[in-house]
């Protein structure tokens, strides 16, 4: 039995925070330990600095500059962020991932799914919802016309594309592994590498997306 993942919940709706914490205590008993909660950016930064949690469940829309601001000011390098939001808008999803989150799930996620997403993020893996996978495929669609500075960052390998496609189709990691005849570990590696590209790529579509929406 591994030790429970230490979590801080950040959301500006008190009712929702309570709901999430109750759900985590029910579905994640022994797996997830909620250390603290915070309602805005300043509180969140203080809580992260004080508790140095493994994972911060981070609302994207937050008084004081949004979840991205928390990640920017966060003082705890070992802490990982999982974004949790009602918004499905592309600019929020991409902006948050590029701000440093290792995953993005929407608030309609079920308790057990949330617990496993937290566990995954704590282990250093990426968490992609089908919608996020769809955005990734959209952003990396087509072939890139100009030889970019770092070409490898700006396009997905065929294998990564396949993995993203299966995730977008609603496959779980295990099912992806089975479908492609690879191990779950390999799937996780592909996901992490896609996450890295999403965060670091200077690809035109991504930067235009961000600048169009006046993000980042």
């Amino acid at each position: 039995m591994t030790s429970p993942v230490r979590v801080v919940v950040v959301d500006d709706h008190a009712m929702f925070r309570r709901g999430v914490i109750a759900e985590l205590e029910a579905a994640g008993a022994g797996e997830v330990e909620v250390l603290a909660q915070a309602a805005d950016v300043d509180e969140a930064v203080t809580a992260v600095a004080a508790h140095r949690p493994d994972v911060v469940l981070l609302d994207v829309h937050l008084p004081g500059g949004g979840g991205v601001e928390v990640m920017r000011r966060g003082q705890s390098p070992e802490t990982r962020y999982l974004a949790l939001s009602v918004s499905d808008a592309a600019e929020d999803v991409i902006g948050t991932i590029r701000g440093g989150a290792r995953g993005y799930v929407t608030k309609t996620i079920t308790g057990p799914e949330l617990v496993s997403a937290i566990r995954r993020v704590a282990d250093g893996d990426a968490v992609f919802s089908p919608r996020l996978a769809g955005f990734v495929l959209d952003a990396f669609a087509g072939s890139i016309e100009v030889a970019a500075v770092d070409e490898d960052l700006d396009r997905l390998t065929e294998r990564e594309r396949e993995v993203m496609r299966l995730i977008a189709r609603g496959y779980a990691y295990k099912e992806v592994a089975k479908e492609l005849f690879i191990s779950i570990k390999t799937v996780e590696t592909h996901m992490s590498s896609v996450l890295r590209k999403l965060q670091l790529s200077s690809r035109h579509e991504l930067s235009r997306w961000a600048s169009d929406r006046r993000l980042l």
């Binding site: 500059g65 309609t108 496609r165 977008a168 609603g170 006046r214």
Partner: protein, 427 residues
């Protein structure tokens, strides 16, 4: 039957790009309008500026004439409100944004010096240069302030904010430097070779004229501004309130009433809540349409209908999009049939739809994690799968493949080639 509606013809207009701007956004706006790389346009302006200042004139003219592109930012209400309330990150200026400006300024200075070396030190040269730079700074600040006025929700027109926007050292610096440069240009022209006391007399006279003008025109300008702002404030407020009220009434209130009526029936309540959530979400955030305007949007519409009819949640993820032409309708219909099947028979409350629309083909995957079935055992009189999905796709030159097994869930894959040469279906 085939009806193609053309959108009304709209002439393309050029705008100044207020997001990707070095000076006034003229070059990037022009580049977008002409569909050429922005670097060429900027280089063009620089080159023609060196040829007797033509580029500067053209740039200034365009800056005056072209409207800025973000008149009113019409984001989805939820995002707009989150941005206003400071719950989303604003635009951060990075050092990278300043880079081109510095490079261009250095080039411009080099050009100026080169020009000066060529033509010699003319009397009109430095005043003109100072004046131009000063004007550019002031106009730049006017753009900033205009943009902030548009984003300003209070609707008030404050004379100070007209000049400085919401302040910040950058706007104060721009106004101060701009005014200083323009004034020194005027002084260089006006008092070239004059004595200090002449200059002082001129300065006092000029100042008195300005003060007089301000006293005469001031109240009038102020009155006009406050009238305008009062009217604008009222109009904006009442319209917004009316819109939100209408939307809440049509959607949330009706749904709540329905939920109260059927509060005993858990399935109906869940279905209503889900439909309302989808509606509110698309209104607040994504702004994704669910009508017949495009293939992805038609799929979302079909999924929403099945959701409402069967009380399951259907998530549609679409990559790429295209207009919904007549030859794509069968795919949408087959997909709707597949989603309906999954909703009815799978026994789970959730269906995932993934559509990939490329210029070459349309692929739609409908997947559930339900009970699955044995395709061999489906009775012949069950038309759903065979007729509506497989045969329909085949008739229209596509393929449908069903992967399932008892207890394994079901996935229906629809494929339709979009290239004109109809490939024989490979099955």
């Amino acid at each position: 039957m085939s009806m193609t509606t053309n959108p009304p013809y709209e002439p393309r207009k050029a705008y100044r790009d207020s997001h990707d701007s070095v000076l006034g956004g003229v070059a990037s706006g022009l580049a977008r309008h002409l569909a050429v790389p922005v670097l060429w346009v900027r280089a063009g302006f620089l080159l023609t500026s060196l040829l007797g200042g033509l580029g500067v004139m053209v740039y200034a003219g365009l800056w005056l004439m072209l409207p800025s592109d973000t008149r009113f930012e019409e984001g989805p209400p939820g995002l707009a409100s989150a941005t206003r309330g400071g719950r989303r990150p604003g635009r951060l200026r990075r050092l990278g944004d300043v880079g081109p400006a510095i490079a261009l300024a250095a080039l411009g200075l080099g050009g100026v010096l080169a020009l000066q070396a060529l033509v010699g030190r003319g009397a009109a040269f430095w005043p003109a240069f100072f004046g131009l730079v000063g004007l550019a700074l002031l106009w730049r600040q006017a753009d900033e302030a205009q943009r902030e006025r548009w984003n300003d929700q209070s609707g008030r027109i404050d004379p100070v904010r007209i000049v400085f926007g919401s302040g910040g050292w950058a706007s104060y610096a721009r106004v101060a430097a701009g005014a200083l440069l323009v004034v020194s240009a005027v002084f260089i022209v006006g008092f070239e070779g004059a004595s200090a006391s002449d200059a002082r007399a001129g300065l006092i006279a000029g100042g008195l004229v300005l003060i007089g003008l301000a006293i005469v025109i001031g109240p009038w300008v102020f009155g006009l501004a406050s009238d305008l702002s009062a009217e604008r404030e009222e109009r904006v407020r009442s319209q917004e309130r009316a819109d939100v009220a209408a939307h809440l009434h049509d959607s949330v209130l009706q749904t709540l009433a329905l939920i109260q009526k059927s509060s005993g029936d858990a399935a109906t309540v869940a279905r209503l809540a889900r439909a309302q959530e989808r509606d509110l979400r698309s209104w607040l955030y994504a702004g994704e349409s669910a009508d017949e305007s495009s293939a992805a949007s038609a799929l979302r519409g079909a999924a929403a209908e099945v959701e409402d009819a069967h009380g399951v949640s259907v998530d549609v993820v679409a990559v790429g999009d295209c207009p919904l032409t007549d030859d794509l309708r069968p795919v949408v219909q087959a997909a709707r049939e597949a989603v309906t099947n999954a909703a009815k028979h799978a026994g789970t409350g959730r269906v995932d739809v993934y559509a990939e629309i490329t210029p070459a083909a349309v692929d739609v995957f409908v997947r559930d994690r339900g009970v699955g079935f044995d395709p061999e055992a489906v009775a012949d009189d069950r038309y759903g799968v065979r007729n509506s999905i497989v045969d329909r796709m085949r008739r229209h030159g596509g393929t449908a493949e069903i992967r399932t097994g008892p207890g394994e869930g079901t996935e229906v894959r629809l494929h339709l080639s979009r290239t004109t040469t109809q490939e024989a279906s490979h099955d």
